[in-house]
Amino acid sequence: MTSSLPLSRRGFMGASAALTALLATGSSVLAEGADSLTIAYNLPVQSWDPTTGPAAVNPALQSVYLAVFDRYIAQAPDLSFGPGLLTDWGFSEDKSQITMTVREGVTWHNGDALTPEDIVWSLARAGDPATGNPMQFVWGKIGNFSVDGNVITADVKEFEPALFKWMAFLTAFVLPKAYYEKVGAEGFEKAPIGTGPYMVDAFEQGAYVRLKAYPGYWGEKPAFETVTIKFVTDAASRVAEIESGNSDVTSNIPYEEYDRLIAKDGLEGEAVPITDIGMIFLNDIDVMLDKNVRLAAHHAIDKQLIIDRLLRGYGVPLSTLEVPGYAAYDESITVDYDPEKSKELLAASGYSTDTPVKFTIQTTRGFKPKDYEMIQAIVGMWRKVGIEAEIEVYEIAKHYELRAADTLAPAAFYNWGNSIGDPSTSTGFAMFGPSPHAVWDSADLVEKIGPLFGEPDEDKRIAGYKDVSRYIAEEGYVIPLLQYVMPVVFRSAVAVTPYTSGDLLPQAISKA
């Protein structure tokens, strides 16, 4: 930098002008590639093993996993179930055994054939506590598999009525036995292979994953040859991505932006209620042990106002963890907005606006639309009745870790995904003490929910769950808020089939 600096001012100005011109031409042509698609996604894929670790139970990541791997049983956009890697499945008459028929002619992305051994190995691995599968308690209920041609039979150690629904939900993915054992866990992370419609072509941790259509896919060939999923955690940047044409599809953006973007020509949108529930977990510690505080907190929240004002009307208020359309939904159970009642309840426990009850509430920020603003609004509503809540922000992965260790704050905002619509995976798992997903561990709920898990008679089971939901509402053990509507924005040249499960599947996006 020091020897004679021949750069005259004119030379310098010329160089910088040329540089900016060079850069400017680059970006506009990107997203228009004929059969390539770019999705701006709100969460980076942390790990490529969809069966273990915190990422496996993260509903938001299932879309990416479903592009690369297949589940035992597939789920249609309307939550109905269909054949996945299994073409037939069922309980034996006495429900002591299950039989599964493996689809033929399926190959892994590296060309190896899918064998019944892969299915058995995946199920056994999922049931083995050592592998760290968060749903091990479900997979542990079946064992000692036997293979005959492409039919697998296994013993039912403990009856699980929703077992086959589970085979279409979290961690129910089939991994390649031979390949996994050859490359090991770390090798698999670097070069994952599955049987899904897309192969992982390139993956840059925290940045993007580029998927290429797998020519040998057993199902219907997807519309786009290459799909790039960019991980853009910042909501405002996702909006900028779609608006500037750098991306073709994005989701989970603020509803105001959704309204604004779909009003622009060249952009379309879908906003369909999904099986994602916004709720506040209550932890049975310190102030939350007082029923008055719990109920007061619940009654103080004006859910419809939040939906209208914060979510531009996109949302369905809820009083229980069941959603319209779920098997165990009961519209007669309601916890209505009644701030005066909240004040009375608080007064009964010696609290008031001057001497408010104090606790911390944890929430994510930017993970779901307006998640953080909603909690700020709720904290505001609470402050009016005499509840002083301090907000602590954390990432969704942190929530799982704290929940697993049962060290969540007295109140913790979370969105519960339950794409199979069965009460056991919503009210059941959320409120059943021993389940790793529950936060409230009081004994009364364990007695009420426990037997329902094994209840063979379907009507009796559903009626049981409705009673539990009513009981939970009366005791205020949890504060359900609303059913989310997922906003998806895409360029008009593209068509997106929305899934009520909230998944944004690359293979479900076609050319308009």
Binding site: A235, I306, G380, I391, V393
Partner: protein, 287 residues
Amino acid sequence: MADITAAAPRRRARRLNLRLWLPLLWLGAVALAAIFAPLVAPQDPLMQDLMLERLPPAFMDGSEPGYWLGTDSLGRDVLSRMIHGARIALFVSLVAATATCLFGAALGLVAGYFGGWWDRVISRLVDIWMAFPPVLFAVLLVAVIGTGLTSVIAAIALIDWTRFARVIRAETMVQARMDYVDSARIGGARRLTTLISEILPNVLPSIIALLMLEMGIAVIVEAILSFVNLSISSDDPTWGSMIAEGRNAIHFAWWVLLFPLIALFLTVLSFSTLGEGLKQRFDPVLQ
């Protein structure tokens, strides 16, 4: 030749005044707002009214009286939140800058005056420590001691003391060689009292100048941390968190982002202009 020198400074003095009064005026206003926040703020900064959300500022149509600068997406008054935000901005800048100054200046004085072993150790420490940027240190400190103003202040103090130490050490060395110090020492004064009574008053002006600059930096670091919600619990209003919240509503409620941005900009600009102005006035080299 004498009258040549007289003419020049009078002209420069008037211009310097301008650079002195404007920042003082703004900082005075911010200080008043911070001290009397509850009285001055038209609304309660935390009170939300979802019916009044996203009101435009007074000078635009559709505004409500009493909400001069409009409201944010939760119906909270932007002006009141800025005023309360000023409280935190000034608190952090005062406490952090003073802590940094005391810590750094003390070490600087000791290194400059006693020299020898002291000087080598402190200078070595300054060189190594100099390199660590406060923002990054604050982010990592939060991982250890959690979010909250303490980590913001601790981070600034633990990093930026080097700036003070370096300048004060140099100045002390210069002052220490002056003969008036030797005469005091000959007069039997103990070293420490000499340090305090003789050198400190002379070094004080540049300490104050640096203090101003440091306050500006503290405000910026706090704004950055609350932007990434690593500063205080994210419900009390700070300029940084307001900017972060405003960012998502930029297309339809730009004022939520713009006004705290302007407040932050003017405050930092005032601190640095004041600091520069004072530095020039007291800096022997630029005399």
